[in-house]
Symmetry: C2
Subunit: 234 residues, 2 copies
DNA sequence: CAGCCCCTCACTATTTCTGGGGAGTTGAAA
DNA sequence: TTTCAACTCCCCAGAAATAGTGAGGGGCTG
């Protein structure tokens, strides 16, 4: 059943079709909602989901991503997580949770964080209405399928997005990488130059050229970009 | 077969046993070598692998991680990758590749990058000797198993490591997060303060307290730490 | 209700970083 | 073989960040 779904998925050729597939997936997985949401390193977003458009709009308007424990948790961990295990004690969060349930997203949820090339981040979520026990046995039984599906959906989404690719992949020279790595580790220029056994002037040249390549406005920005694009090995 | 392996894995209770399991996994998967290698945000490493100790030592001595296309690629992408698809044209890289093959790691390889909570990064690799065609059909057939196994091995490794946990999880206040986010986006303090509609003095207080919480030596360091621990949503 | 964390604002001296120049060597690719 | 990218070094003035203190109000929690 899932196998045939994945086979079908492989043949998808547009983002629109992918959206349809998410709807089909909801039925295949027998849940209330399925959400795939991706953000790349330039901040562009793509989502394929079955939530009501109203709730999505409201979520965006209120910038709930900054509050949503699911998003917060998935940014920090990589394991799939059951919504029950998150911290909902904060007042604003409880408020948000209430609104979410009122919008019909269901009282249970399970999310799989995904990270792709160049700092891409995605979230694959299923949600529904069930008792804690029902949901626990459902997720336990389907973890593997959810892991696989999330992976393949993300792969397909990236593949399709790459067709319309504007994301330029920068590459840093070894010394530029070294320089930024030192700075990311907290050294100041003098210390970094010392560690790399070069003059501070030279180090500065690397930082500047890295900043230029990364179109960064300052050193901190350059380090941030390099990190979020996976260019530095700390 | 793999199912029973995963069940066994779930019962593993020490990192030593996990090492034995990797050896068992090599036979289960019918490959030459299996490597699981994890680095957490503080730079501590753990590996369970079947490579010869000599090669491992040599690899570490030469700091080959900075050269190894597998590591480089897996830092930047998240999809599993076949070693053939990497760029081995650089002279140093070809040299490294030659040494690797001489050390018996095999002429084919397939690696799965994994990212865990708080900036943990891990790599799950299988390698062996085969023709391109043989290897292609092997990997195509086993991608799913490899994905699942890599996930479960990582989960188990993290679970065991957490027992010996020294990694303190820091959490930033909303304003601290805002401040660091602005800086990571390339704003200077004046611009950031303006965006957040607070005085620059106030902003500075946030940056300092964030720096303190993250035990960072300067702003760039704080941003780097926050980013690599998934604390910032850019 | 006391303690703690969060949010907000202020001053000053010192250190560090940035942006604008310029210049020579080496090694690899075209 | 030329050309280009990477690596190395240098000066200086102005801009920006940091260290060291200080203070008051608001809100949640025990």
């Amino acid at each position: 059943m899932l196998d045939s779904y994945i086979e079908q998925l492989q043949r998808v050729e547009t983002l629109g079709e992918l959206n349809d597939h998410v709807v089909a997936l909801r039925d295949t997985l027998d849940v209330e909602h399925v959400v795939y949401h991706s953000v790349n390193s330039t901040g562009e977003q793509y989502a394929a989901l079955t939530y009501s458009p109203e709730w999505v709009q409201h979520y965006l308007d209120e910038d709930y991503a900054r509050l949503d424990p699911v998003v917060q948790a998935c940014y920090q961990r990589f394991h799939p997580i059951d919504w029950k295990r998150l911290d909902w004690t904060n007042k604003n969060v409880r408020n948000f949770h209430g609104e979410a349930i009122d919008s019909g997203i269901g009282n249970q949820g399970f999310s799989v964080p995904i990270r792709g090339p160049s700092g891409q981040f995605a979230l694959f979520t299923v949600s529904g209405n069930a008792s804690d026990d029902q949901w626990a046995s459902y997720t336990e039984e389907h973890v593997r399928n959810l892991l696989l599906v999330s992976h393949f959906v993300n792969q397909k989404a990236l593949e399709l997005e790459r067709g319309t690719d504007k994301v330029k992949v920068v590459s840093l020279s070894p010394r530029e990488t070294d320089a930024l790595t030192m700075l990311a580790m907290g050294f100041n220029r003098a210390q970094a130059a010392d560690s790399l056994s070069i003059s501070e002037h030279t180090l500065r040249v690397y930082i500047e050229s890295a900043r230029f390549k990364l179109t960064a406005m300052n050193t901190t920005h350059a380090v941030a970009r390099a990190l979020s694009q996976g260019l530095l090995i700390i």
